[in-house]
Symmetry: C2
Subunit: 147 residues, 2 copies
DNA sequence: ATGATTTAATTGCATCAACAACTTATTACC
DNA sequence: GGTAATAAGTTGTTGATGCAATTAAATCAT
């Protein structure tokens, strides 16, 4: 029983450490850099949603990206420094900011998505789509167990 | 073609952001804290190998945990501050440190492993072992594609 | 309508990661 | 044996995270 649990732990270990997702994030960032984009993988994950719909609040972004509010606040600050987006105080709710992309923020979309796709191709080489979807379903269950 | 790639990207998105492994790490750390252990998930990943074999070099630990040397150096420094381990200058190679656990470092092993197992049980609730192993195989392929 | 409770966002603090530059010791080469 | 290349570890910088505490605005309750 105990032995069983420990060996299970051992199998699960690499999963637990998140080395795969770290490797993916690192490769993504490297691909951004090589194509001349000076953004991080985390910044990309925020921009990803803004390209879909502008005017999101920081709270919205926090929920979408599964980050806490302080993390989003600082990510937004860094992106604002880079002039990729702006905070606009919401007229309806004076506590909230609405986030809008700048021209530059729009401009880099295609280039970023190309690099994201490239990263995915590199990561999934030799993995058939069905297996990948099954793996994702497992990850989804695990995530729901913990959130 | 392009559309196909983009929808693939979007399926892959949660994977790319590493939210599952983040959630696992957070839960592990929370479980440590609740049981009175003041260590981080990252520190645990170092201790995990030292409980198996003491006297590892920092380079060894870097390879085992897939971290770079600076990261290991600082993790070891923090663990040394907490008096869980010590650096011992290797007699064979004066550049290298050998890492040894203190009595306290040994003492917390069982408690830590209990919490790691608890975290795994929580994470894997509702996931059968075969599916999990299949998912791990996919992750292994992805990791090898990127490393 | 006012006092209490939520909610949006920010700031402080500690830890961690990636990358680059550096020191010191070891090994390789000629 | 002496110089060059390699390897182990450290330090600095920047960006990110988690948690706790704070401010300010909105909502709820009586």
């Amino acid at each position: 029983m105990m032995t069983n649990e420990i060996s299970y732990a051992s199998e699960f270990y690499s999963f637990l450490t998140g080395r795969v997702s770290t490797a993916i994030g690192r490769r993504l960032q490297r691909n951004f850099k090589e194509s001349g984009l000076h953004i991080t993988a985390e910044q990309w994950s925020v921009l990803y949603y803004l390209w879909e719909s502008e005017g999101l609040s920081q709270q919205d972004i926090a929920k979408l990206t599964f980050r806490d509010k302080p993390s989003v606040s600082r990510l937004i600050s860094n992106l604002e420094k880079q002039k990729l987006l702006v905070r606009v105080c919401s007229s309806g709710d004076k506590r909230a900011n609405q986030i809008y992309l700048t021209a530059q923020g729009h401009k880099i979309k295609d280039k970023c998505m190309q690099q994201a796709e490239k990263t995915i191709s590199e990561a999934l080489s030799g993995v058939d789509r069905v297996s990948m979807q099954q793996a994702q379903q497992i990850l989804e269950i695990v995530f729901n167990n913990l959130k």
